[in-house]
Symmetry: C2
Subunit: 418 residues, 2 copies
């Protein structure tokens, strides 16, 4: 079968299945999620057999140890996947929720009701747990999903998809509610990205290169974040001990993730005191600082930052630092170089704090806490399908509700427009 | 200046202006809206002078009488524009509204707050009142706007833009909050549609051709509706008198608009009685019916409908009619041929009504009322920037709230992630 035909069959099957998925009741969806979890647990050997083949192929292809590690499904990771499905079952069902209601002067009762989006395509890299997590979230929100993981995990993902499909089938639900792209050819993805009549939303998860390629190709709306160039601004009035703790946590607790801090801006009024303390604290943790000229005048020996450092997402133990003259310059710097992900201020001045929170136009803005809290779980959404730095539909961590849209429902008794 | 440079300057000026517009307080915005209204009223002669030139050029270019009529700014239409701005001033300001708030176990206070989208591009055809209406709605929602009307109205739109800009300038606000594209060259639009770093949203309003061209070209998210192929399904249990009134109203009250009905589906169980009554009633109103074979067996002499009639938006006194076997076939027909705009059922059976409302995946679904109610004003939104048949962000009539997004705000006292 050629790529176009294969992609079209996937997309059309998903569209058909989505109509049924949209009207499943909560209890049925939760039962299927539980059945999926049980079936995964019982299929440890079958999953391991496929996973071993992916791991062998990965070793032959020269994948790094880190990539091979991400690819591996250990018993603990399998248990976590099953557990994740049960957690999704325990979350409230967003579908059918009335957003608002009003009765018009002519007696028309008008409500807005949450409904599933329809068909969602998820494109992601190595970790096979995304296959299960994303399938669970899409099912719970009443959507059909097409999952396309990395080619290095294709055997594992295929088996995971089969197992989830069996649980659907057993419950009398069209297994095309969850489909895994079983062909590695990149052309299948490119074809899917043009099927805007069948697929309603694309969520790419992975490196900036993957995401840019998806955005370029897609005629379907894409929700995404390219990168996380997160800032912490340390104001003159900041509790410096708190600021050190926050920057340390935001940089070193997990440097390789998108909500880690990449640039610290320090008000000139406290830089002379704060910068040496910051350099010492982070130096102990093995963090390389790259500083502006004013920083280097205070702490000589710091690597000079170039213009390329300000928009960089290091994802590593490297931190850009810059002295600025007050909150407005910090806000301007973030507007110019930030990525709209998460930016924080540390201050004891409530007015300055509110000025920062209202003027920084990022999906998450924080006062006196670590940027690392920018996360669906930490925000209390229960589970997260991804993070959006876009302006439309969903911004910041996306939970179940962000996988729904709404429709207007009007109920009348024969009203006519005059 | 070449098109690229001109477009870039517009877009960058809008982006700069949007940062200021986003933090204007409600009172200031309302005062500017009032000042805009007054300035429009005082500028009747200046507007008429530009409008006359557009009308003359339009006549020379052979525009139809209907198009020339839409282009003309009569004193009454000018008053309506000013009045529209005052109505927008009276609407609640969506910006800054807290959508939800929660306190996490670690004490973090997390809120989601409505904020403006940023820079919005509106692309529309002939009627110059859109220039003023859209500018008012974008200003009230804290956005900067770039307005590109039809080239036949360019002189009028330019003058309207100048007047709105003067009111902004007088209030000490960057007039680039409202910019009118003053160059007719289509290439300027094409360049704007690629400036996804500066422009956040494109709303095209007009015929399907215009909208498809915008979607093809744009790398910026587009909210749109291509067309309105609205259905009324008449169930077996329908009050037939009510059904006749609703279909008549939905077809003939204003046939040229997107929420007029284009296809009526009739349950076979009542078709023998209902179809002749429908043919008689609409025949009196000069409506041409195009029927399926089963309809023609009941009412001979009706024009046969072809496969091309079902997805057609006539925008005229033409109506496709089809006999179906029950609500599920009606739902299937709408899924296949509908445009996701507005679809209604007429029934006395509440269960059947709810089945239709939940299974038809259109932006607006109605029970026992005319499709013509699908409108921001009729829904109580106050004013409407357009209608969306998309799934993401906004669906159905879009009011002020749909011109905003949200951001996550977290306030802490030094919280770190463990």
């Amino acid at each position: 079968m050629d790529c176009e035909t294969y992609a079209r069959e996937l997309a059309q099957a998903a569209r058909r299945a989505s109509r049924r998925a949209a009207v499943l009741d909560t209890e049925t969806k939760n039962e299927v999620l539980e059945a999926m979890a049980r079936r995964l647990e019982k299929s440890a050997e079958r999953i391991a057999a496929a996973n071993v083949l992916d791991l062998e192929a990965g070793r032959e292809a020269g994948l790094s140890a880190a990539m091979l590690d991400r690819l591996e499904i250990t018993p603990r990771r399998l248990a976590a996947m099953a557990d994740g499905l049960r957690q999704v079952a325990a979350l409230p069902d967003p579908v059918g929720k009335t957003i608002d209601e009003r009765v018009r002067p002519n007696g028309l009762k008008i409500t807005r009701v949450r409904v599933p989006i329809g068909v969602i395509g998820i494109i992601y890299e190595s970790r096979p747990n995304v296959t299960v997590d994303a399938a669970g979230l899409c099912l719970k929100s009443g959507n059909a999903v097409i999952l396309r993981g990395g080619k290095e995990a294709i055997r594992t993902n295929r088996v995971l998809g089969e197992i989830l499909g069996e649980a659907l089938d057993e419950a009398g639900i069209d297994p095309a509610v969850v489909q895994v792209v079983a062909v590695a050819d990149r052309e299948v993805v490119n074809r899917l990205l043009k099927m805007d009549a069948e697929i309603d939303l694309i969520i790419p998860r992975g490196g900036e290169g993957l995401i840019r390629a998806v955005v370029e190709e897609s005629t379907i709306p894409v929700i995404k974040h390219y990168k996380g160039v997160c800032h912490v601004y340390v104001a003159a009035s900041a509790d410096q001990e708190m600021a050190l703790e926050i920057v340390d946590n935001a940089k070193t607790q997990r440097p390789g993730v998108c909500n880690a801090v990449e640039t610290v801006l320090v008000d000139a009024a406290c830089a002379r005191e704060f910068m040496p303390r910051l350099a010492e604290r982070l130096g102990e943790k093995g963090v390389e600082l790259r500083g502006c000229e004013r920083t280097r005048a205070i702490v000589p020996g710091i690597v000079p930052a170039s213009e390329e450092d300000w928009p960089r997402e290091y994802l590593d133990l490297i931190l850009a630092v810059k002295v600025v003259d007050g909150v407005d310059e910090a806000v301007d710097h973030i507007a110019r170089y930030g990525s709209g992900h998460t930016d924080a201020i540390v201050t004891r001045d409530p007015e300055e704090g509110e000025r920062f929170l209202s003027r920084v136009d990022s999906s998450s803005v924080f006062l006196n806490c670590s940027t690392r809290f920018s996360d669906g779980g930490e925000f209390g959404l229960g589970a997260e399908i991804g993070i959006s730095t876009d302006k439309l539909h969903a911004r910041g961590p996306m939970g179940l509700e962000e996988l729904t849209t709404y429709k207007w429902v009007a109920r009348g008794e024969g009203q006519l427009r005059g």
